[in-house]
Symmetry: C2
Subunit: 210 residues, 2 copies
DNA sequence: CCTACCGATCGGTAGG
DNA sequence: CCTACCGATCGGTAGG
């Protein structure tokens, strides 16, 4: 029942917002009485805190696992592609949790945010490390503010939940290809482009700009 | 007083969320009694609707005016740079309104959203037209899903309010240069790059990838 | 623009 | 996990 409460809460939070979701609504969706929620959780804030934490850790864990699976042999482009795909997949798989985290974090009670900050920072650091690898491999430009670049990338991936309607695994691959292409190579047309919309792994993508 | 009510509402909405902001808080910030708000507005929803509408129209009007000022002589790169800068400037100048629009739109009462949709669609169309111009000039690639590209660009600009701390006009110019650079040319290092972090106009930026 | 008030709903608790 | 309830606060209104 505890898991059920979290799932229904995440769904309602992402749909109506934390403040507009009452304990009575959560209870109703779970098929129990409002007072019974306090047998499983001390307070509404405790539910909020747990949903927020899962919203970031689902994604962070998935991306971390994917990178560790590839590390060693893989180059920056392959790792980058895999990280974007893993982020988007986990993001939409646990949509109710991640949407709550993205939309409601700033307005959540301060006490519930504290527990999240460590997880958030660690996840940002994972991307910072990846970008650093891109620089040391000579793939990423050094005359760009890579902190800006990192935040712009994460912003655009996270905000995708407002407009992206996934239709099967293929659509994730396509979105990933587009994001990787734009972020690394830009939208500008090139003479004699040999760009290919290749499969998920994407690591064989032709680098046509140097 | 009407304007004052809107300003304080936008500030509280963007800070705490619409649902967590009570009419009594708004009244207190305006230095009047709660009941007096209903002399100026029929309901809370009417305040919400007006704040949301201003949140999008401030930006749309600014970008539209900037493009019309330049149109005729200007090429795509110059227009694109000017549009991004105008968007960011207006976005942060009216931060309380735009942040409310971005963060709260989906959770606002359905009746308050209807009035916004036309303004939103028109603004999206403005960018779609600009991108079409980029294609017809041969600047933008045709093998990228430009709808994705457009939404990713707007996502990353809008989400900048979560992390970008403007420090004077110069910081807007820098962010604009970074966004334009990444979006058009990507983050990849190029052999013999001659990239310049040039001033606001930016239209003389060297295209070094073809 | 204020005073005084309405019914509804909120998060949470005692006792079982 | 339920019943019955608490004080606080909500959006909104009547009458001035």
């Amino acid at each position: 029942m505890r898991q059920r409460i979290l799932d229904e809460s995440a769904r309602l939070f992402s749909q109506d917002g934390i403040a507009s979701t009452s304990m009575r609504q959560i209870a109703k969706e779970c098929g129990i009485q409002a007072g019974s929620l306090y047998y499983h959780f001390k307070s509404k804030d405790e539910i909020i805190a747990e949903v927020l934490e899962l919203g970031i850790s689902f994604v962070a864990d998935a991306v971390k696992a994917e990178l560790e699976k590839l590390d060693g042999s893989a180059g920056f482009r392959e790792l980058f592609h895999a990280a974007v795909l893993a982020h988007l997949n986990a993001f939409f798989l646990h949509r109710n949790y991640t949407a709550t985290h993205i939309r409601e974090f700033k307005q959540a009670p301060a006490s519930t945010r504290i527990k999240n900050i460590k997880t958030r920072d660690a996840y940002e650091q994972l991307w910072a490390d990846l970008f650093a690898k891109g620089v040391s491999e000579g793939v990423l430009a050094t005359d760009i503010d890579l902190r800006f670049a990192r935040l712009l990338l994460l912003s655009s991936m996270n905000w995708a939940l407002e407009w992206f309607k996934p239709k099967g695994q293929r659509s994730f691959d396509e979105l990933t290809v587009t994001i990787v292409r734009i972020f690394l190579d830009g939208c500008t047309a090139r003479a004699a482009s040999t760009q290919e919309d290749s499969p998920a792994a994407g690591s064989k993508q032709v680098v046509h700009s140097n």
